[in-house]
Subunit: 288 residues, 2 copies
Amino acid sequence: MTKGGGRHMVAGIVQEPLINKGAKSRRDTAIAEDTVGTTQLDTVPEPKYWHLRTVLSEALDSEFSVGEILPNERDLAARFGVARATLRQALEQLELEGRLQRRRGVGTTVAPPRVGVAVGSEQHTWPGASGDAWQPADCAVAVPPAAVAQSLEIDPDEQVHIVRRSRVTHGQPVAAELLYIPASSVPDLSGIDAPSGTARARGVLRELQRLELDGDDRAVELGSAGADDAKELDRLPGAPVLVVTTRFFAGGRTAAVSVATYRADTCRLTFGDSVGVEIHHDPERRAS
Amino acid sequence: MTKGGGRHMVAGIVQEPLINKGAKSRRDTAIAEDTVGTTQLDTVPEPKYWHLRTVLSEALDSEFSVGEILPNERDLAARFGVARATLRQALEQLELEGRLQRRRGVGTTVAPPRVGVAVGSEQHTWPGASGDAWQPADCAVAVPPAAVAQSLEIDPDEQVHIVRRSRVTHGQPVAAELLYIPASSVPDLSGIDAPSGTARARGVLRELQRLELDGDDRAVELGSAGADDAKELDRLPGAPVLVVTTRFFAGGRTAAVSVATYRADTCRLTFGDSVGVEIHHDPERRAS
DNA sequence: AAGTGGTCTAGACCACCGC
DNA sequence: CGGTGGTCTAGACCACTTT
């Protein structure tokens, strides 16, 4: 059981408090070999890390409260008698599910329930309209990604205005956005003197309001944060994000495209008018 | 450079075709130590796996076509001069982004672009209405998860009808759904004799249509597939899924709740009326 | 039987945080 | 400085699919 490779067939990993938060005591590495007399039917060779995930998840529900800090990974791995890599695989899952939050140099803490962030308020409005949750940060002119250019129905080499905005909820950054606006959508920028920066971003958005919005169009997909987004979202590169792509229509064409990346670990995107209470927690459920 | 732990500071991993699809040749493990004369400013200590992800991503764009099978992990790792675990970390990222598809016992293939699946057709309809994309599979009676019970505003111990449905697009399963319907929403089930199975599922849904639908409410979040969902979606447990929770309102209360899990690797959820062309590919973009 | 991706281990170094 | 999570390695066995 010491070295060797991937064996399956889990032997019930059990302990009374499941996790002894205090110092490592004598028989901490103990693993109960047989929870029942006869060895269980190994019909479902559950991977170790998956079983660990379940055990930890239950421990999280019963023995920990939000914000509490878990024992460190080396201790936890020792307690459960697995390699650190395996323990980490389980923690990774739980972080993906929004149950845990890990910060380098600090530790692993129990995450609060995901915050519901409203996306697409049903009554369609331009970005920058009064009362929207975004804060303009910057503005530049550049060639957009090919996919965006195609969506905007412009030449692949044509430059557009790119407004960068960020969204903050409860003091934490939850999303970063890039807004692509063709020059044709904001024909008169004479009133804006700032060549860049927040002031210009605001100006471009204000100019955009003058168009009559016909409607919009949204898509959500999973992505991973690039180096830039990661920094803005206070995450590491590769962190999972929900990418919301919105197309704004005016005058029979696509007048602007927004690509917003939301922290997948902390956000629950809500559509429609109602607020929506906490829903969905454990992926292990099924009707009889 | 051989053994040892996490060094950062990437030395440009380069090759002409980037990936020699054929047999491993003599100097395949070669790594160009210095792409430029002076060692690059290591301002951004990019992790190896992240750099690898980028290199592979570009190779995927330029040298591979959809459905093509990549060299196996052991070969790839050797070609790039990294441990298999590190190579796998890069592949994992690319799979998360929907660029790759890995199947045990088969190999790693280039994934087709994500399919756009319509969610919430703007004109709100009951599940099971003519023309919806779901196929009823089963029906049972059981106690729902606590979060669902709360959303339905029923007693935590109260049993509800649970209709299981699945959604198939282009011959591939893309989503699994559990529909929770309180008995009060379908008061007259006398016309349905089947105690369970597809027939009963259809009957319950038909009965649901009789209520007048006031509206609905959607939320999207990241989750991981449980063992059951994983099997239905032809994925391994823990696979990332987009969880869409929909609440259906009728008569001033929540008449039904749907929890649908979509394959996050292959799906792009679309909201609104338009179809939406391919958008968003590389997470490495930014305005100047 | 052979080959693939999936799981697991034991040990190491690194980047970051707070003291 | 010490402690934390993040990255990396080399090697092994396992489950699965195909030949």
